[in-house]
């Protein structure tokens, strides 16, 4: 288990501030955030190679804030691996292992045995990352910190190493905290996701919740939400639970109806491209609350999908539909189109 209580840490002029989160034993936590948001600083502070300037780090339920890194029993993998260049691959993997057998077993499981006899300097970036992973796992740590460990792996190897690591983590009940920029990876592996922005934790939740309901415009922007608009939110009533209300949003030349727990005031409207329904004519009376008329600016094919950009007044709405639908509807640049979005698909934050 990793528990952080108002953890702060300094790295030059940058400051990580008041990070509080609990990652249960055996859980896989994902750390997301733009470059320079403090993700590596967070991992280094948990590992103990960087001092905390405030707050506490609790590992396995005990306060580890003042413990040196060698007493924390944590495995750490940096993006660049930091393999020791004066040692061979095998020596690197055995560096912290209890015995050579444990190191060899780990090398075999992750596929590092294929280049065990080689000099570190002759390895590719992906091979280095595999060796770095094997080296961190060989001492059998029950907490593993990963800083973009798969970034340099080719797609085939990435899938293989990722699933082997997942298997190992489940077998051993390892608690993992994993920094990644890959949203697919975050969704596949993560039990819990946290978003860091400028040294502060801006959202914690399941990856699904973070991607579907970003807590702020900044988070929505970072996760690459297709449509993010700034404006004013007005609360207009109460439905079902007291905290849920019907809301209206106006901004960027759009008037949208939504539901949610926003208290009202300045905010953002976030719409996933997949939640936008397109038609050539105004749909018959339906339950859809938001019907927007616009003109197609671009139809960009993306595999079996198509990304359709529609100009609505002075703003743009992006819809993600299948290629088949785009062809059937005869969607093309300059054509007029009607976009429908259910109020429940408009996330206001």
């Amino acid at each position: 288990m990793i528990a952080l209580e108002r953890l702060s840490s300094r790295a030059g002029t940058f400051e990580l501030r008041d990070v509080s989160v609990v990652l249960p034993k055996g859980a896989w936590g994902i750390v997301l955030g733009p470059a320079g948001s403090g993700k590596t600083t967070l991992l280094e502070t948990i590992a103990g190679v960087r001092d905390a300037s405030g707050g506490r780090v609790l590992l396995r339920g005990a306060d580890a804030t003042a413990l040196p890194p060698e007493c924390r029993h944590i495995g750490m993998v940096y993006q660049h691996g930091y393999l020791f260049p004066h040692l061979t691959v095998e020596q690197n993997i055995s560096y912290g292992a209890a015995d050579v057998r444990a190191a060899r077993e780990m090398a075999t499981r992750l596929g590092a045995d294929a280049f065990a006899g080689r000099a570190v300097t002759s390895l590719s970036g992906g091979e280095r990352q595999i060796v770095a992973l094997a080296r961190a796992l060989a001492p059998n740590p029950d907490i593993l910190l990963l800083d973009e460990p798969f970034a340099a792996l080719d797609p085939r190897r990435r899938v293989r190493v990722r699933s082997e690591l997942r298997r190992l983590q489940r077998e051993r009940g390892t608690t993992v905290l994993h920094v990644t920029h890959d949203f697919v990876e975050a969704g596949t592996l993560g039990d819990l996701a946290m978003v860091l922005d400028n040294g502060r934790l801006s959202q914690v939740g399941t990856p699904e919740a973070v991607f579907r309901k970003p807590a702020s415009g900044a988070v929505a922007d970072f996760i690459g939400a297709d449509n993010v608009y700034s404006g004013t939110i007005v609360r207009s009533g109460v439905i079902e639970a007291p905290e849920m209300g019907t809301l209206s949003f106006s901004g960027n030349g759009l008037e949208l109806a939504g539901v949610g727990d926003h208290p009202g005031g300045a905010g953002h409207a976030v719409i996933r491209g997949e939640d936008v329904v397109l038609a050539r004519r105004q749909p018959n009376p339906s339950s859809v609350r938001n019907v927007l008329h616009g003109r197609i600016v671009e139809v960009a094919p993306d595999g079996v999908l198509a990304r359709v950009a529609i100009a609505i007044g002075s703003t743009t709405l992006v819809a993600i539909i299948t290629q088949a639908s785009a062809t059937e509807l005869g969607l093309a640049q300059g054509e007029s189109v009607v976009a429908s979005v259910k109020a429940t698909a408009v996330h206001l934050c």
Partner: protein, 267 residues
């Protein structure tokens, strides 16, 4: 159109300047080796005083270098990793002997470690008097050349990314064990080069040594002694041998640099 002649004049100026400086550096050394080199090498076989003096020089310079490696490497590490309070002051203090005229350095050493000083008296009691002894020669060499080692070693350690140490610590090493197993081996070539530079500087020291210990004579003092007592022709062979000796560390350094460059390209 007017660029070409201006460019040509600038090229001629740059090349002429470079050639002039090379001539200024190479001519005296070349003249010394040509006039005294063969005689010097021949005298190595017959001149016992020259052989003794060279042995003494090599022995004291090596001892001073080994002592500096032992004491200076930890200091260089602490300076490189900003682990000393008042690090920049200590940095300046360590480099100060490089800026002091070397006879002045000899006088300072005499004041601090001569028989009249408490430290000197204590040293003399255990048979380590610094005046007229190899101990004094080694101390003078250490004083003037150790800053070169510490400075270069600090640079070399500073170039090793501290994350290597951090990774070693997450793998179970204590701080100093990580330094010994990872940082020092990675800085090894730089540390060796720093030791070679220090050794070469120690071998060529004259000013500080001559204040503390005229006898027994190191090679530089012997060369000066023969020049003042017997004239230029007598000093030439000793001086030429010293120049030829200086080529050894120079060649070692050049080959180290070439190897380091090829390793850096690989990593």
């Amino acid at each position: 159109m007017s660029v070409r002649p201006a460019h040509r004049i600038a090229t001629i100026g740059v090349v002429s300047g470079a050639v002039l400086l090379i001539a200024l550096l190479a001519l005296p050394v070349g003249a010394l080796v040509i006039r005294g080199g063969v005689d010097g090498l021949r005298q190595l076989g017959s001149d016992i005083e020259l052989r003794r003096s060279l042995t003494l020089t090599a022995f004291t310079a090596t001892t001073a270098t080994l002592v500096t490696i032992l004491l200076g490497t930890p200091l260089a590490y602490l300076l490189a990793r900003d682990r000393l309070p008042g690090g920049s002051f200590i940095d300046a203090l360590v480099e100060l002997p490089l800026l002091i005229p070397h006879p002045v350095a000899g006088i300072a050493l005499l004041l601090a470690f001569g028989r009249a000083s408490p430290a000197g008296a204590a040293l003399a009691r255990i048979g380590l008097g610094i005046v007229g002894s190899p101990v004094g020669i080694g101390l003078a060499m250490l004083f003037v050349a150790a800053p070169l080692y510490v400075s270069a070693a600090r640079e070399s350690i500073g170039r090793v990314d501290r994350r290597y140490e951090d990774v070693a610590r997450t793998l179970g090493d204590s701080h100093w064990r990580a330094v010994r197993r990872v940082t020092l081996p990675l800085a090894g070539r730089g540390l060796f080069a720093a030791a070679v530079v220090m050794w070469a500087r120690a071998v060529s020291e004259f000013g500080a040594i001559v204040i503390l210990t005229y006898n027994p004579k190191v090679a530089s003092v012997l060369s000066y002694d023969r020049f003042t007592a017997f004239g230029l022709d007598a000093a030439l062979p000793v001086a030429a041998v010293l120049v030829l000796l200086a080529l050894v560390p120079l060649l070692v350094l050049r080959s180290l640099r070439a190897n380091t460059r090829s390793i850096e390209q690989l990593t």
